[in-house]
Symmetry: C2
Subunit: 129 residues, 2 copies
């Protein structure tokens, strides 16, 4: 599914620009931290965010990831959300904080924030560079 | 429309991740060079690209722009394509090549490529950082 030539982008400290569909079907996009478990691209979200409501309504998503070393090289993954799992002790968001900013705990956690792990199954990939 | 606090991102050499809708309404995303004319965000496309067909079918688009100096600061513009203009002598794509890679002419032009200028009217903005 993911071309060998761009599979390295699944583990670098890049940002994935995640495009989802709003209530009226219009696209929305914002950058997210991500991780790859060998089969799914995973990112963290709070329960109350619009993006999560979007994905509960329509699980289709596209994520474009630019190589942090070379902005003219990128990977786009299109697929769908197959699971939205609880992250009760923040294990997943903390693992992303470790990966991205070398901190044991995610520093921007807000009281009352409920974190979930969004799992995306890739169905199609496009690349450039 | 564009918050003062993030208006600088309209003129930096950042990439805009452009989310459009495919034939089945699913999101697609890829990074583009862009420019700002004071009212529209503009980017270049070849006539034959899927993205252009998407926008002719459904003009709704979201573009997320990360600050090249600070990946935790970004601007998302949601809006619609209000014009797709010819770029017959490549004046626009060449101006982007000048801005982004300091070259007078766009170096990756292919024989037969017909360039257009896609003009996006912002209708909503979100920011972070």
């Amino acid at each position: 599914m993911i071309p060998e030539s761009h599979a390295d982008l699944l583990s670098v400290k890049g940002f994935a620009h995640a495009a989802t569909l709003g209530p009226d079907g219009a696209p929305q996009s914002n950058p997210v931290w991500y991780d790859w478990d060998g089969a799914h691209l995973k990112f963290s979200q709070t329960r109350t965010r619009q993006k999560l409501h979007n994905l509960e309504r329509d699980p289709r998503i596209a994520l474009s990831i630019t190589d942090p070393e070379n902005p003219y090289r990128y990977l786009e993954i299109r697929g769908r959300v197959v699971a939205i799992d609880d992250d009760p002790d923040n294990a997943f968001i903390d693992s992303l904080a470790q990966k991205y900013i070398d901190q044991e705990h995610y520093p921007w956690h807000q009281p009352g924030d409920e974190r979930v792990v969004v799992k995306v199954l890739p169905e199609h990939a496009t690349t450039m560079g």
